[in-house]
């Protein structure tokens, strides 16, 4: 699939301002945007969200702290006449007449033209914006609207490749504004100029743009949503206003902006006392609880001042989740979808907000089929479908929790082969360590579960691993540390220490040389209580699949740290959100971007990461795709969801955000 190179690429831009007193203010965080030639893109957000800063970066007036802007294959390093800016305050030279202001630009930008040609160009442009009558006036003799016309004329006269408009009509009265908007639209349509406009006027953005980029409220502003407008070009105000989706889009923008307004920022917590007493974290006996065990046993918690951390071995995932919700546990290892599912209300349950700032592990699951199925030739999902069609059976599969990655991945894997996971097969929830017994007893025909239970089934000869989650979705988030947002707000320093300790523990776990030692730790009775050999498979040695085929060791079968693994990315959670809604496990929130932001505290992760001097933002990537190659674009998750062939009915509703979600400021 050949990718069209974007005309302008804003490549993961961060902007940090050093403030007096040595503090730094992160205005923009990880902004990535691609703009095609001839597009009209509006940047919309609350004032102070950094949209003008972003425009200045594109214009070249400012160098971003991180990342860069590439236009037509070249990096933007300084301003230039190919990127003309129309400033909000016009910035006309007051000692020059209208004509001279435009002529200066033409002379500077097009030195190759003859004097007569330049003169003609200036006159033509003035004509275009209806300014010929005022050509010999000084800016001080003009009204605001006229001045902005001159500024637009100056910008257009040099035929820039991009027109950058910084709230161009913000200071004008409504009537003049409307008039100039239409003029700008006509001129841009006639010349095909690419435009990027900063505005806070929702209707202006709708009228003029092809795409509206909604920025979240700063600090750490990033792109919240991108709306693609369906209005045809050439357009006029009347057609746009009467377009059937105009008010839906307008409402969507307004509700996004309102959601952003709700984001408040916590008070400084420098003064809050560091609470005494221990911290209890829950875990389930699985290999991927390794970061928690390592952090405790090897002193990473202690290193960050968390002297007394108890690890509580959970009876079931449900017990851990209720433990965290009730406050009995400060945090717990959870499946990546769990905090989101709890926040949305799992399977009709009440919404119980949970959040996470760190991904503890990635990958590490496998789908195991019973040896009987294997012997009947079932090797892939397609074989399974053929088997079901032939025999008319409804095989049962074990999963460990409805809001588990295993459930979502197994369902995706089945559905991709045309098997409806609710009708053609039966999915039963079983505790992970019971899976092998059930498989042995023939109660289930397979399962999707984490390690070491797949290897145990293989070792005991009851099952064969047919695929692993690395093959279904390389680098999928598996376990996260789930906490209550209230706790994060009440004890931000402890939370920060916890995240830092766990990031370091993750790094330790991803060093293959340490893994034998970690395996010894894990198999202790208080943790997994098992034989080290079971842990070794896939962790330090090649995974035996039970099909007799020799495989190489894959270090990323368990991934803890590499590729910014601990970063709680928002894109992946959005995909998880679509899958939860697809199988009717949770409703789909109308205010999805707000919920994603609330559940994945990438800002708090970033804070910890910066203190550890490691990359603090989500890795690159505008879209993700699973093994079947179906691309997932984050701009319109509902469209993605509606397009999948096998799914349940969608329940779309507004989910009340938790009001405690907010950025504590670390003192």
């Amino acid at each position: 699939m050949g990718r069209v190179l974007p005309f302008i690429e804003i490549d993961h831009v961060d902007q940090v301002f050093e403030q007096p007193g040595g503090e730094s203010y992160i205005a923009l965080k990880n902004i990535h945007l691609e703009i095609q030639k001839g597009e009209f893109v509006s940047l919309v957000g609350h004032s102070g969200c950094g949209k003008s800063t972003l425009l200045n970066i594109i214009a070249g007036f400012q160098r971003p702290t991180c990342g860069g802007v590439i236009m037509a294959g070249r990096q933007v390093t300084e301003p230039g006449p190919e990127r003309m800016v129309v400033f909000q305050n016009y910035s006309l030279l007051p000692w020059k007449t209208v004509y001279e202001n435009v002529a200066l630009a033409v002379k500077a930008a097009m030195p190759h033209l003859s004097k007569a040609q330049r003169q003609q160009k200036v006159e033509a442009t003035l004509e275009q914006v209806h300014l010929s009558g005022a050509r010999d006036k000084y800016p001080s003799q003009l009204s605001g609207g006229m001045k902005q016309r001159v500024a637009i004329a100056r910008a257009l006269a040099v035929q820039p490749q991009v027109l950058l408009l910084d709230e161009p009509f913000g200071a004008l009265d409504a009537l003049t504004r409307g008039l100039l908007q239409e003029e700008l639209m006509q001129v841009c349509q006639a010349t095909g100029t690419t435009c990027i406009m900063v505005t806070h006027d929702v209707d202006e953005a709708l009228l003029l743009s092809d795409r509206v980029v909604l920025l979240t409220k700063g600090p750490e502003a990033n792109i919240g949503r991108i709306l693609r407008l369906p209005f045809a070009r050439p357009r006029n105000r009347h057609d746009v206003l009467n377009h059937p989706s105009y008010y839906d889009l307008r409402n969507e923008m307004i509700s996004f902006l309102n959601q952003q307004k709700r984001r408040r920022h916590g008070t400084a917590v420098a003064a809050t006392p560091y609470p005494r007493g221990g911290l209890t974290l829950g875990f389930m006996p699985l290999i991927d609880c390794a970061p928690l065990v390592v952090a405790k046993e090897l002193g990473f918690f202690a290193k960050y001042g968390l002297e007394e951390v108890n690890l509580h071995r959970g009876e079931s995932w449900q017990e851990l989740a209720t433990g965290v919700v009730s406050g009995r546990l400060e945090g717990a290892q959870m499946f990546a979808p769990m905090p989101l599912a709890m926040t949305l209300g799992l399977q009709g349950g009440p919404p119980q907000p949970l959040t996470t700032s760190i991904v503890l592990s990635r990958n590490g699951n496998a789908i195991t089929l019973s040896r009987e199925l294997w012997q009947q030739g079932v090797r892939t999902a397609t074989d399974l479908r053929a088997y079901i069609e032939q025999t008319g059976e409804r095989p049962r599969f074990g999963i460990v929790h409805p809001a588990s990655m295993q459930n979502l991945l197994l369902r995706y894997w089945l559905a991709a082969a045309g098997i409806d996971p609710d009708q053609d097969v039966e999915l039963v929830v079983l505790p992970p360590e019971q899976m092998v017994y059930y498989l042995e007893a023939g109660h289930i025909s397979g399962f999707c579960v984490g390690q070491p239970w797949n290897s145990r089934a293989v070792r005991q000869g009851f099952g064969v691993i047919v695929t692993t989650s690395v093959d279904i979705w390389p680098g999928h988030p598996e376990k996260v540390l789930g906490v209550r947002p209230e706790w994060v707000e009440a004890q931000p320093k402890r939370h920060l220490a916890l995240v830092k300790a766990l990031i370091e523990a993750c790094e330790y776990c991803d060093t293959i040389a340490n893994r034998s030692e970690i395996a010894q730790l894990l198999c202790r009775p208080e943790y997994l209580d098992c034989e080290p050999e079971e842990i070794y498979k896939g962790f330090v040695m090649p995974l035996e699949r039970g099909d007799g085929v020799e495989t190489a060791f894959r270090p990323r079968f368990h991934q803890f740290y590499v590729d910014r693994s601990p970063c709680p990315g928002r894109l992946e959670l959005l995909w998880i959100m679509t899958q939860l809604a697809r199988w009717q496990l949770t409703p789909f929130p109308k205010n999805w971007s707000e919920i994603v932001e609330q559940v994945r505290r990438i800002d708090l992760f970033g804070f910890a990461a910066r203190e550890l001097k490691i990359p603090d933002s989500e890795p690159a990537g505008q879209s993700l795709a699973l093994f079947d190659g179906l691309p997932f674009e984050p701009d319109d998750p509902l469209a993605y969801l509606e397009a999948v062939p096998i799914r349940r009915a969608l329940d779309i509703r507004e989910i009340e955000p938790s009001l405690t979600v907010l950025s504590p400021i670390y003192g």
């Binding site: 300084e78 301003p79 006449p81 305050n89 007051p94 000692w95 000084y138 800016p139 040099v158």
Partner: protein, 280 residues
């Protein structure tokens, strides 16, 4: 007939009221107010001297004493004995030379210093120390350096006028609004284009503020310097009159000095306005 008369009267009265209104708006009002003020001043002066509070000639006395001097500004006698017009002109000549030098060098230096932060930081302490030195304090140095009265007087004018010119030009260059600089960066203006299209026009108002202060100071300094140096010039004329106890002549000379100072200041301001178009 009567009817048309009344209409006529109405028209007249309307026109009259409009005329009166305009009179109130026009500078004529200022002229009248100014004249009344001046008259009151003269009356108080006359009164104070008649009563004997000040041992000065009354205004009427001044005019009668110096009538010859007033009506013959371009009288030529021998040596220093020339009319007031000549005295003023020769002072103006010194100011013209000293001030022109100060303006050219001051504006040039100011633009260079203002454009470079490093240079500004290097030069600023010197400027701050030399700026408050009173004009006359320069005179001995100047005499020592020049060894002649005429160049010394011109040097005093020069050194007095140059500081406000340099400092204001520097401020002007530093205060060029970022907006204009952004426009220049965006258009990638060449150095020459930037200088003539942005830097110079943007600094003109500041430069002329400096020039106005400079010309005022030069005129202050020349009178004092000439008193000490001698020769033809309004300063020495005053000193000479004092030595001859011709108080009335001093008073007339003072009025001339004041008027010329005013004209100089307004002329510089006028040129400044001419050179900043588009300024409302």
């Amino acid at each position: 007939m009567a009817k048309s008369d009344s209409i006529f009267l109405q028209l007249v009265s309307k026109r009259q009221s409009r005329w009166l209104k305009r009179l109130q708006d026009l500078p004529l009002r200022k002229v009248v107010a100014g004249s009344v003020g001046a008259f009151c001043f003269l009356a108080v002066w006359q009164l104070v001297c008649m009563v004997g509070l000040l041992k000065l000639p009354t205004p009427i006395r001044v005019i009668s004493d110096t009538w010859e001097l007033i009506i013959n500004p371009f009288y030529r006698g021998s040596g220093n004995d020339v009319g007031l017009g000549w005295q003023i002109l020769s002072s103006l000549r010194r100011v013209a030379i000293g001030f022109s030098l100060a303006a050219m060098i001051g504006v040039g230096l100011g633009m260079v210093i203002g454009s470079s932060r490093l240079l500004y930081e290097a030069v600023d302490p010197i400027l701050q120390v030399l700026r408050p030195v009173p004009p006359l304090a320069w005179l001995p140095i100047s005499l020592a350096a020049m060894r002649d009265n005429e160049p010394a007087a011109i040097f005093v004018i020069f050194i007095t006028a140059i500081w406000p010119i340099i400092i204001n030009t520097i401020v002007g260059v530093q205060q060029i609004p970022q907006d204009y600089k952004n426009v220049a960066r965006m258009l990638r203006l060449s150095r020459k284009d930037y200088f003539f299209n942005v830097l110079v026009p943007a600094t003109v108002p500041y430069v002329f503020t400096g020039l106005r202060i400079g010309i005022g100071l030069s005129w202050l300094a020349i009178v004092a310097a000439e008193m000490l140096i001698g020769g033809v010039g309004i300063g020495f004329f005053i000193w000479d009159a004092w030595n001859s106890s011709l108080i009335s002549e001093i008073i007339v000379a003072l009025i001339y000095v004041g008027l010329v100072g005013l004209v100089l200041d307004r002329s510089v301001a006028f040129v400044g306005r001419l050179l900043s178009p588009g300024d409302e």
